[in-house]
Symmetry: C2
């Protein structure tokens, strides 16, 4: 790296640190084995950006991801033959997002990075969701940062710049680590640094994601362990 090392590492979470697709497929196999878990997970996630867009555009007031996930869930259940699910079953299923499993390298990689850097999620997930997830999966965050803290969803600049403001550092002292180029580009437009993390299995083994290097990010790594290598931890 040409620039000095960053001080704060902010991580995208869904797909970058945790395996939302695999976790949902596994829960569906246990709870509702008759449903195509792969298609169900993809349908649920496909509603994510449009739901946030309703908040970003002002059509919906500030609404947490837990509530947005539930709106999408209620919408897709009939399509998968699960219209009959009652309130308690829907509420439990909706909290699968609190129970997502970490990618195998995540906990060990974050433990190493934490020794030298301040590490925090910067996720559109709400604080309670991210806290419950971290507690269950053993993610050793120094603090939980979330769209909920800034009342704005990524890619709103308020989220990226908010991390720098919270820690009283320059934007160039914050590095966003994410498996999504659009997130990294928005962070870089705010002056943050960027590390791309390959997650070829984000959408499941049947839908391998192209993770070949693209221009833009300062670092391109296979996983969080390799990120720790590259950042001298």
């Amino acid at each position: 790296m040409a620039q000095p090392a960053p001080k704060v590492l902010a991580f995208d979470v869904f797909g970058t640190v945790v395996d939302w697709h695999g976790s949902i497929v596994r829960e569906m196999a246990a709870l509702h084995p008759q449903v195509d878990g792969d298609a169900f997970a993809l349908a649920w996630r496909a509603g994510y950006q449009p739901a946030m867009q309703r908040v970003r555009s002002g059509q919906l007031g500030w609404t947490r991801i837990d509530e947005l996930h539930r709106l999408i869930l209620d919408e897709i259940l009939p399509r998968f033959g699960l219209k009959h699910l009652g309130e308690a079953e829907r509420a439990h299923l909706n909290r699968v997002w609190h129970r997502l499993s970490a990618w195998p390298d995540a906990v060990a990689g974050l433990e190493r990075l934490k020794k030298r850097y301040t590490i925090a999620p910067l996720s559109n997930g709400n604080i309670g969701l991210l806290t419950n997830m971290a507690k269950r999966a053993g993610l050793p965050w120094d603090c939980i940062l979330s769209a909920e803290v800034f009342r704005a969803y990524k890619p709103d600049p308020a989220t990226y710049l908010g991390v720098a403001q919270v820690f009283d550092v320059a934007p160039s002292e914050v590095m966003l680590c994410a498996a999504h180029h659009d997130d990294l580009q928005a962070a870089q437009a705010c002056g943050l640094r960027a590390a791309y993390i390959e997650r070829p299995l984000e959408f499941g083994a049947a839908h391998i994601k192209d993770v070949s290097p693209q221009p833009g990010p300062e670092l391109h790594v296979r996983d969080i362990l390799q990120l720790a290598d590259r950042l001298g931890c």
Copy 2:
């Protein structure tokens, strides 16, 4: 306890989890040994409630504790013969609040409580301050909650009720743990549970605080280790 156990334990921090008086006295002895550290610490802390009151009343817009601490510091420095301190020295000294030491029982007590409960600070300190403090002192919070998250200072009900909302639990499932009866009373008025933690040395050995039991809190404990005992951890 007559009621079921709480799910979330929210801790006041300054005085309850960390020793602000002793930490400031020690830093002043090292940095400015000619100053009466005890009087200096008390004067700095004495400006705390009036400064927050300026925010609560609307006289000041939302202002973080780091900035309020600095306003008070600039005001008291001349009184202690430190008017000559430059910007870098003032900025460093102001961050002593990020470097406060935990009471000797705090880390071990919180580690035990964390196994059964979600634990978080609920402090008027800002997120960056609380995160830096936790990282340095080894406080194992599940997440950092702060007045900064709710844009309101305790005892505003938005702070106490905000904890319950973040975790989607009833107010009665949150217990505030604090060394200050006024904080606990405000939490109880919002339906939260209350545990009083004795900190007779909060203001230093020359100013022993009366910690004799008062009616009101559900629990009255010597320290956080005894809190863990009483909460079955």
